[in-house]
């Protein structure tokens, strides 16, 4: 008995594969936008006795009060003027220490705002003493 032979097209349908692939691409694209993977490099408070015991003019002292107001070397100063104040001092002495003392009741962003300005001014030697360190060196906690 003769069986009629039918021609079956030998083609793999790949159109839907591209659809699935593009769906996955969109997923990974969106997922990559939502994951925060950037930040600011932070120098931990360290036992740098020189910074604490250095002469007053050798280090810049920034005090952040509970409402976020700044006092730089004993003078009240807005955040916008901080770079202008620090830049000539850091240019003269790139190793200049800058100490940030933050009030315990201040919001976290008050410290990061100042820290960000210091990084922009090119200050490499930032010292952020913890309350335990301040007590160790007899420094008063800012109000």
């Amino acid at each position: 008995m003769n069986i009629a032979r039918r021609d079956v097209p030998s083609e793999i349908p790949t159109a839907s594969m591209a659809d699935v692939a593009f769906l996955l691409i969109i997923f990974f694209l969106v997922a990559s936008f939502y994951s925060v993977t950037r930040g600011i490099q932070f120098s931990l408070p360290r036992h740098d006795e020189e910074a604490f015991t250095s002469e007053p003019e050798a280090a810049v002292l920034i005090v952040i009060s509970r409402d976020g107001a700044l006092t730089v070397d004993g003078r009240s100063m807005p955040l916008t003027e901080l770079i202008g104040y620090l830049h000539p001092r850091v240019s003269r002495n790139p190793e200049k220490s800058v100490i940030i003392q933050t009030s315990m009741d201040a919001p976290y962003h008050a410290m990061t705002d100042v820290f960000d300005e210091l990084r922009q001014a090119g200050v490499g030697n930032v010292v952020i003493p913890t309350s335990a360190e301040m007590a160790l060196y007899g420094l008063q906690e800012p109000q």
């Binding site: 790949t14 159109a15 594969m17 591209a18 692939a21 593009f22 996955l24 691409i25 990974f28 694209l29 997922a31 990559s32 939502y34 994951s35 925060v36 993977t37 950037r38 930040g39 600011i40 490099q41 932070f42 120098s43 931990l44 408070p45 360290r46 933050t102 009030s103 315990m104 009741d105 201040a106 919001p107 976290y108 962003h109 008050a110 410290m111 990061t112 705002d113 820290f115 960000d116 990084r119 922009q120 952020i128 913890t130 309350s131 335990a132 360190e133």
Partner: protein, 141 residues
């Protein structure tokens, strides 16, 4: 004059096989570059103009606006810690094997600095050397 078509026109087929190849190449790229966050606590991060890429696999210390502290050594999702002493112990477990292990502080912008100070003190005591602060990029003027 009538022109007679001698042969039937071939079917109009768009070759889509290579499209899938390109798509899978892009998928692999995004799979490799996408870093999944180990902490999904909703919070408003502080804004900074200076930003650097935080290393992959960094240990995360998350501080929510209500003062809840969560910790992850960098492999699993963050878990709440009972108190600062327990956090210090977890940090020391990480730094005991590698003092250069990166740590990331993820804190809400309105968290009182007192809590940050306590966490920084624990990091200092554990001699952690590589610490970053998670932040949202702010446009440079």
């Amino acid at each position: 004059m009538r022109v007679r078509r001698s042969r039937p026109l071939p079917g109009a087929v768009i070759p889509t096989a290579t499209m899938a190849d390109i798509a899978f190449l892009l998928i692999i790229f995004f799979m490799v570059t996408t870093a999944y966050s180990l902490d999904r606590t909703p919070m408003e991060l502080p804004e900074t103009k200076e930003q650097e890429q935080v290393p992959k696999g960094a240990a995360i210390i998350s501080m929510a606006p209500d003062g809840t502290v969560r910790f992850s050594a960098g492999e699993a999702d963050t878990q709440p810690v009972a108190d600062i002493a327990a956090l210090g112990q977890s940090i020391r477990q990480v730094t005991a094997t590698n003092s250069l292990h990166p740590f990331v502080l993820k804190a809400d912008r309105l968290v009182p600095y007192r809590l940050i100070d306590q966490v920084l003190e624990q990091l200092r005591l554990a001699r952690a050397q590589n610490v970053s602060l998670f932040s949202i990029g702010e446009e440079k003027l």
